[in-house]
């Protein structure tokens, strides 16, 4: 359900950007990076975006999401690796925070971002009037 709030922030960010830069034309693609540790359902986020993207500039645009990794790093023994879903016995992707080598609490680097990285825009059609 919180995906709706996040999609709503995304729509606000896009409209703010378009207004600030006086962007004309039509938005085709929105590229978003979502960290693996975020409890965000990609499908719900896409659905919420589709529902909320009603502005003529936004409507019909495609939300393309790339999941970004999280790095586990042990401050004591130096163990580090990218966290993978398969590491856990549960299907939901969250690492345990104890180092598998020495049991120390590991640090997490990355994996918590939700960043708009790129937009693809189609320029407005040019009308050449020959009177």
């Amino acid at each position: 359900m919180h995906e709706f709030s996040i999609a709503s922030s995304l729509v606000d960010t896009l409209l703010e950007y378009a207004q600030k830069n006086q962007t004309q034309g039509k938005l085709l693609e929105v590229h978003l990076k979502v960290g693996k540790l975020r409890a965000i359902s990609i499908e719900q986020l896409k659905f919420s975006y589709k529902v909320l993207a009603k502005d003529p500039f936004l409507s019909g645009s495609r939300l393309i999401i790339e999941e970004t990794p999280a790095l586990l790093r042990c401050p004591k023994c130096g163990f580090s690796k990218n966290f993978e879903v398969a590491d856990d016995s549960y299907h939901f992707a969250l690492p345990t925070l104890s180092c598998p080598e020495c049991g120390t609490t590991v640090d997490l680097e990355g994996g918590d971002e939700v960043v708009l990285t790129k937009v693809r825009i189609k320029a407005p059609s040019k009308k050449i009037l020959d009177l």
């Binding site: 359900m1 919180h2 709030s5 996040i6 922030s9 995304l10 606000d12 960010t13 950007y17 034309g25 085709l28 978003l32 540790l37 975020r38 409890a39 965000i40 549960y90 939901f92 969250l94 345990t96 925070l97 104890s98 609490t105 971002e113 939700v114 960043v115 708009l116 990285t117 790129k118 937009v119 693809r120 825009i121 189609k122 320029a123 407005p124 059609s125 040019k126 009308k127 050449i128 009037l129 020959d130 009177l131």
Partner: protein, 227 residues
């Protein structure tokens, strides 16, 4: 001669990409930082209390307030979808309360807390509890500007509450396992829940509580660094 209008539509090369670096969670995070700064200016410690519906968040806050109200100037922000039932329960302890009704949202966010803080006499307080909406998923995504996160679960929610909702425990400072007086009846072993929490987040302090009989309340207070 008739007017001739020729329309040229955009070709492929007129599609252009713009690289951006816009943090979508920034708006909430910045408001959370503002709230935090405002609380610190007034020397206030704020605790975000989270947990599922019926786990005993309100009972635990009430129990903590009853023990600390003589030595601390406390206020409580109650987040619920609707009603002032929880705020009324806490108000019976004689401390100021603000009820935040989220309406359709399943979590509090930093903007709602900003509005609640604007209604409070912050210079007359030194401790604020913020009870989040009963939900073990969504609130974890929205920092409010508090100093610590206290998560409340109860044995009546069954043996798998922690492993099914890991995100909530990842960023918790303290976890209360409530209603331990019912553990036998529920056939739930609180130490299994404790192990699940420690595995996910070894830094969290885990305390067993029975709020109705004031068991474990002082341990929760200590785990939050309050005395």
């Amino acid at each position: 001669m008739a007017k001739q209008t020729e329309i040229v539509t955009s070709s492929e090369d007129e599609v252009f990409d713009i690289e951006l670096e816009a943090d979508i969670l920034k708006a909430n995070r910045e408001l959370a930082l503002e709230n935090h700064a405002k609380l610190k200016e007034n020397g206030i410690t704020a605790i975000d209390v989270m947990g599922s519906v019926g786990s005993g968040k309100t009972s635990l806050i009430k129990a903590i307030v009853s023990l600390l109200k003589a030595t601390h100037r406390i206020a409580v922000i109650e987040g619920d979808v609707t009603t002032t039932i929880d705020a009324d329960i806490i108000a019976s302890e004689g401390v100021p309360t603000v009820q935040v009704n989220t309406g359709k949202e399943c979590h509090l966010d930093a903007n709602l807390i900003k509005k609640a803080l604007a209604l409070m006499q912050l210079s007359k307080l030194d401790l604020i509890f913020i009870e989040n909406v009963g939900n073990l998923i969504c609130p974890a995504e929205f920092p409010l500007g508090s100093d610590k996160r206290l998560v409340v679960i109860s044995v009546t929610e069954g043996p798998y509450m922690v492993v099914k909702h890991p995100m909530m425990f990842h960023e918790a400072n303290s976890v209360a396992i409530n209603k331990v007086d019912l553990a036998n009846a529920m056939e739930v072993n609180p130490s299994n829940l404790k192990n699940d929490i420690s595995r996910l987040n070894p830094k969290a302090t885990v305390v067993s509580t029975d709020c109705r009989h004031m068991v474990g309340i002082r341990e929760v207070i200590r785990s939050l660094g309050l005395t």
